[in-house]
């Protein structure tokens, strides 16, 4: 079974992801013939074809809008689904998602500060993204610090610290939003919480995607420890791993990934919850297969979610967070209703 997963399932998923990107790049509100799309990509990647391909509307739509979005979708989908897997192990709870330890409230506070109080202007164009990233990372550090007060951090203390700090951040964010009377900017804020890959650019991808890949490979290499985390502290130590330092390390690496996805795409819900669940149902909880399969499935899922967002409403774009929640929530209910899969409760 194990061997089959590594030799069949993973290559198939890589293939599906590749084909998904190639297919998705031809779909959009502007009709462009297949051949023109691929000509532009071949020219940009390998310098094949005439130099005329490097300019013009077709080039800009394909190379500067669609493809960067798809590449970002791959990175963000991977980041969210892997950090969902990791968070579920860290807090030993199958209902955890990437945002559970305060990351959502922290990044929201960052975005609020940037948009409504103008903080972080020195970061230039994407001040909201940068501030959201900083918010996500600071709250993760704070959760680690708070959960170590009065004895070493445990899974439960991390959850409590996350909940408490989350509430603090939300309170401050809400206060600022309540006092602000700039409906324009509040609208931007609302859109930000729904997520979008629309801001994707090659220079953003060049930072986000490689870091996500490295983090993904790091977590894949940690499959044994991630498995032991599910057994709890006592069993893990008798099998040779002190989970205390690993939890903190994983939490911070995961915060880096989620922070980058928030920075580049805002808040996208349910991906980090649904993908790990669905994959666990089919392939089990062994992280040596769970991590890579989730990474690829999360990417594929987000690529197609983004395509749907672009075409589902004619002439407009649906925020991707709405779509993932619309798809994700019913799947979640379906999973709950299936008796075989009880979430272990």
């Amino acid at each position: 079974m194990k061997k089959r997963i590594n030799t069949i399932v993973l290559p198939v998923l890589v293939l599906v992801l590749g084909l998904s990107i190639l297919l998705a790049v031809t779909i959009g509100s502007v009709q462009i013939p297949f051949t023109d799309v691929y000509k532009v990509i071949l020219y940009e990647l390998f310098g094949i074809g005439s130099a005329e391909l490097a300019t013009g509307a077709v080039h800009d739509v394909v190379w500067l809008i669609r493809l960067p979005r798809l590449v970002l979708a791959v990175g963000v989908g991977m980041a969210l689904s892997i950090s969902g897997v990791v968070m579920q192990s860290i807090v030993r709870n199958p209902l955890a998602d990437p945002y559970i330890l305060g990351v959502s409230s922290g990044s929201y506070l960052g975005a609020v500060l940037a948009l409504l109080l103008g903080l972080g202007k020195m970061f230039g164009g994407n001040a909201v993204g940068v501030m959201a990233f900083i918010g996500a990372f600071i709250i993760s550090l704070a959760v680690v610090a708070l959960s170590n007060v009065g004895g070493k951090a445990s899974a439960v203390k991390l959850l409590l610290a996350g909940t408490a700090l989350s509430a603090v951040c939300s309170a401050f964010s809400n206060f600022i939003v309540y006092r602000a009377n700039d409906s324009n900017r509040i609208q931007i804020l609302v859109n930000w919480t729904m997520g979008s890959l629309g801001a994707a650019k090659w220079n953003i991808n060049a930072v986000v995607v490689p870091i996500v890949f490295v983090c993904a490979i790091f977590f894949w290499s940690q499959f044994r420890t991630l498995n032991l985390m599910l057994l709890g502290d006592e069993a893990a130590i008798s099998l040779g791993v002190d989970l205390y330092t690993r939890r903190i390390l994983y939490l911070l690496v995961s915060a880096l990934m989620v922070g980058l996805s928030v920075y580049s795409a805002g808040m996208i819900g349910f991906v980090g919850l649904i993908i790990p669940h669905a994959i666990r149902m089919i392939f089990g909880s062994d992280h040596r297969t769970l991590v890579p399969i989730c990474a690829l499935t999360g990417s594929i899922f987000l690529v197609w979610a983004d395509v749907l967002c672009r075409v589902i409403i004619r002439g407009a774009e649906l925020p991707i967070g709405i779509l993932t929640s619309m798809i994700g929530a019913p799947i979640f209910v379906y999973l709950m209703a299936r008796r075989k899969y009880s979430f272990g409760v």
């Binding site: 079974m1 579920q88 030993r92 709870n93 199958p94 290499s221 940690q222 044994r224 498995n227 032991l228 599910l230 057994l231 709890g232 502290d233 006592e234 069993a235 130590i237 008798s238 099998l239 040779g240 791993v241 002190d242 666990r280 089990g284 909880s285 062994d286 979430f343 272990g344 409760v345």
Partner: protein, 251 residues
Amino acid sequence: MEISAENIQVQFDKKEILKGVDLVARSGRFIGVVGPNGSGKSTLLKCIYRVLKPTKGAIYLDDVALRNYSAKEAAKKIAVVAQHNLAGFDFTVQEMVLMGRAPHKNALDRDNAHDYQIVDDALKTTGMEAFKERSFSSLSGGEQQRVILARALAQQTPCLILDEPTNHLDIRYQLQLMRIVKESGCTIISAIHDLNIAARYCDEIYVLSKGCIRAHGAPHSVFTKELINEVFGVKATLLREQDEIFIVFRE
């Protein structure tokens, strides 16, 4: 490998759980720790398998202090069978037992044919080979306990710590489990509730009462009517047959 505990003291807040316990398990011996609920059996074992740090005192493996071992090195020396729950996740029986190989692996090592062979052998020893592909959480308590024992065997350590290993097991598997661990040749320290099982399988018995060692020695010399009455607060009749001893409890 010899395990020794020297002057182990454990305090939670102001409450003393262990008040200076000494215990020696010589290489290959089967040591039983008995005592009423709350006498400190589990606390003592948890100090030995590193879940608790003693307030005072130290554990030694062949004269090297256990605290000088890394978690991973210690897990190559001591395997543990205790009560753990899985909190909402599930593994197959094979995956569960394969985790016993974790201390022998570096981060990038893969599990090879040798590891899978060890897992198969351990499952065969505990009579669980037919359950290999089953999900762990679908097993009965007794079957789960036998899988955990297989995991400890797959760890291939010179020492085994058992924390009330026969809970959940019916009488046949209680005896089977004790026989398997005895035949493993490991140095064994086990907390045991059932005094007759302790008497039948252990080489030496330590009787814990209120955080102190109350008695220590071979089963037939440790277990007496007076001691059982004093420590456990029950009346008992002891039947002796050569070196064997059978304890019958009365109201």
